[in-house]
Symmetry: C2
Subunit: 437 residues, 2 copies
């Protein structure tokens, strides 16, 4: 038989043929190249917690290193108990251990939910980078509601109503899933409680389930995160995990909490999980019990982490606003979504016409790496970018914060002393903007 | 708007609507119920290594507990180096670190390969339980080549030739992937080297790539595993991981080695991985370096594990053959695929007409849990079943084996003394067969 000439393109599932490595990875690669050339790079591109995993959780992993058995696909029963209790305690929501799924990152669980659920998926732009690529892999169509700076980059009851009014008739008759992410990636902003209540009522009325991505919930800077699950318990799936609030992104452990009447969805996701990732790494699951159990050490860690992020965010915002960059006060997480629309003419005059070009030039000329707005489903020519204010030594920043009395906010000198690269990088952005011809 | 009556079936992707929890899980559940009723159960259903993870590998996990960063999607570079070196050393194959993927279990990697590869997937029955459900989830058609007891449950060059002759014309013109698993699950049998050479030549000639699932390769009872990659380097992807030879199934770490000219496939799988599981747990990857690095401790562990499995397997086979059960001498892993066709008439007379009924009755009446042949794509009415001879205390069995000089085989009393439940359970099977009316 004749040997075929190998044409890889024809041998790849058409749904993934155009899929490229994520923009986050691409900017990371470029940063590395610049560093290799001896350039100083301000790494505001990748959204990773700078803080170490709390000591007692690391110790729990050490103790559980010999755990070697395959665990149940839905997760270790003891872990599901404490996760349920965690969300009960933190969010005032009635969560049942039987309705909790433990996955290798909440990203994988979002993917499986998109795979299993037969129906419309609705997202709000700017949105997290992976929702849409996941839908593409699965050949699903996603509906996007576009928000704006004026709406604080989030869904408002008004936007939601407009969307519901204009839905295609085939979708109206069927349940859908809407993904909300708050405190938000890429924006750090969250919902007002009255908006959550109104959105919940609309969702209930129109048979829209909510996948409430609350992975930054515990990083609300004042510890005052409110879940929409409180107002729409029967239709909300809450997504979270260890990656952000526990500084353990690399550990890969995410959690989904289902309401009782979506248990069939949890069950079917578990069936698919049993044919794919099987279960989450056993030592990691045992260690996670210590994290979700909470207690004094975890609360001390969280309150110091929040204080640091809050102080640093407001220092960054101050510098940026003085330079005429539009940005909202963040309430949680570690992102700012920067709006450079005030510089549009100047940028265009410098041959910068898209957010991608903006970020490439900024990185090249200042060493500051931020992620362009089009990665978050914004229009190509909208000058927005996500900045992750995480380029500092989280361990020593935590130690410094611990020197301050628990309920006292950190003073103005804190960020300069403990997160100098972040302040320097933000200043570089403003100087670059000022010097644009 | 009117509240819809929720009909879960309509809200589930039709491809996964009929997907049920795996038979392995189902038999585990039934076993648990029986144990709860106070019954003694011989757990030969689940294929988990009974041995602890080697001490130096556990220690490496302890040391790396604080590792918290997201790792590169293809895997930690140092780990990919030692994995490449491991397969070079063990299999005499030229493996490049750049072509290695680390995944959360090789099962997930097989799934992603099926997702990304656009073309025919060929498997050989009896086959591992997950290949076909994975294809169903993805809406892919799988071609099955049926083997038999006479062919030692494996592909022969003759069977392969017949299959290739009868392929549909649309498939003939396109590359395909054939999955081979050896030493085999469910059978413990492997290929003769001359058959591997002939199969490799046929595959090359007919543009069939091989996914060579060698997860039990290091558990070849004589340490003499030969990979087909040796004879078909440009077309073979080798699958392996920590789960079996390192006793770390619950850790979830699998490896895929791609040849240079299938690098495009590895790259695309990595892109999909970046939108799903992201990367494998960081502490686990660092610990895995110690496992794949090898050295005296690992070799000592492996040679004792092999000695135990070899001794135990031949003791089981002896008892079973004396009772007229058809079974091949296994060469690796920890499974026997039992053929009860000699009892067909008697079984039918007892209202047992399928392998599923056979296993249910056996479990009920003797407490012995084995997995019915139809789970491995055998005909429903073929009386076959997989027995995993793993229900013993691996740690103490290892200690006992270490008392024997390294190159001396274990004596006849070893299994009775150290794996009594396995011998007892096998004997129960034979007594049950004898007492069938």
């Amino acid at each position: 038989m004749e040997k075929l000439e190998l044409n890889p393109t024809e041998l790849i599932n058409p749904l993934v043929q155009d899929l490229q490595e994520s923009d986050t990875l691409a900017i990371n690669e470029l940063s590395k190249q610049l560093i290799a050339q001896g350039k100083k790079v301000y790494k505001f591109g990748l959204g990773q917690s700078p803080f170490p995993v709390p000591d007692n959780v690391v110790e729990a992993l050490r103790l559980n290193a010999p755990q070697k058995d395959y665990l149940p696909v839905k997760g270790l029963p003891q872990l599901r108990e404490v996760v349920a209790d965690f969300y009960r305690r933190k969010n005032g929501i009635d969560v049942r251990p039987e309705c909790i799924l433990i996955g290798p990152g909440s990203k994988e669980l979002v993917f499986l939910l998109q795979l299993v659920f037969e129906g419309e998926i609705i997202i709000v732009s700017p949105c997290w980078v992976s929702y849409i690529p996941q839908a593409k892999i699965l050949g699903k169509k996603i509906s996007i509601i576009h928000s704006s700076f004026e709406n604080k980059w989030h869904l408002t009851p008004k936007l939601f109503k407009e969307f519901l009014k204009n839905r295609s008739p085939e979708n109206i008759s069927k349940p859908a899933f809407m993904i909300l992410n708050y405190p938000g990636n890429p924006d750090g902003v969250s919902f007002k409680t009255e908006d959550l209540i109104e959105i919940a009522a609309l969702a209930r009325e129109h048979n829209v389930f909510i996948l409430s991505d609350e992975i930054y919930g515990q990083l609300h800077h004042k510890g005052e995160h409110v879940s929409i699950g409180k107002f729409y318990p029967e239709g909300t799936v809450i997504s979270s995990g260890l990656s952000k609030w526990c500084g353990a992104g690399g550990w890969r452990l995410g959690t989904f909490c289902f309401p009782k009447n979506l248990e069939w969805l949890a069950d079917k996701i578990a069936v698919v999980a049993s044919e794919t990732y099987t279960s989450v790494s056993a030592p990691i699951q045992y260690a996670a019990i210590e994290a979700f159990k909470g207690g004094a050490q975890i609360e001390d860690y969280l309150s110091n982490v929040r204080k640091i992020l809050s102080r640093l965010a407001s220092d960054c915002v101050k510098i940026l606003r003085q330079a005429n960059v539009k940005v909202h006060d963040p309430v949680g997480g570690f992102y700012l979504f920067l709006d450079f629309s005030n510089f549009k003419q100047k940028l265009n005059a410098n041959n910068i016409t898209t957010s991608k070009e903006f970020c490439a030039r900024l990185l090249e000329e200042t060493g500051v790496a931020v992620l362009h707005g089009s990665s978050f489903s914004r229009a190509e020519d909208e000058f927005t970018a996500r900045m992750a204010y995480v380029d500092f030594d989280g361990a020593s920043a935590l130690n410094a914060a611990r020197m301050v009395t628990l309920n006292t906010p950190l003073d103005e000198g804190y960020s300069n002393a403990n997160c100098p690269k972040v302040i320097e990088g933000v200043t570089k952005i403003t100087e670059w903007l000022k010097n644009l011809k």
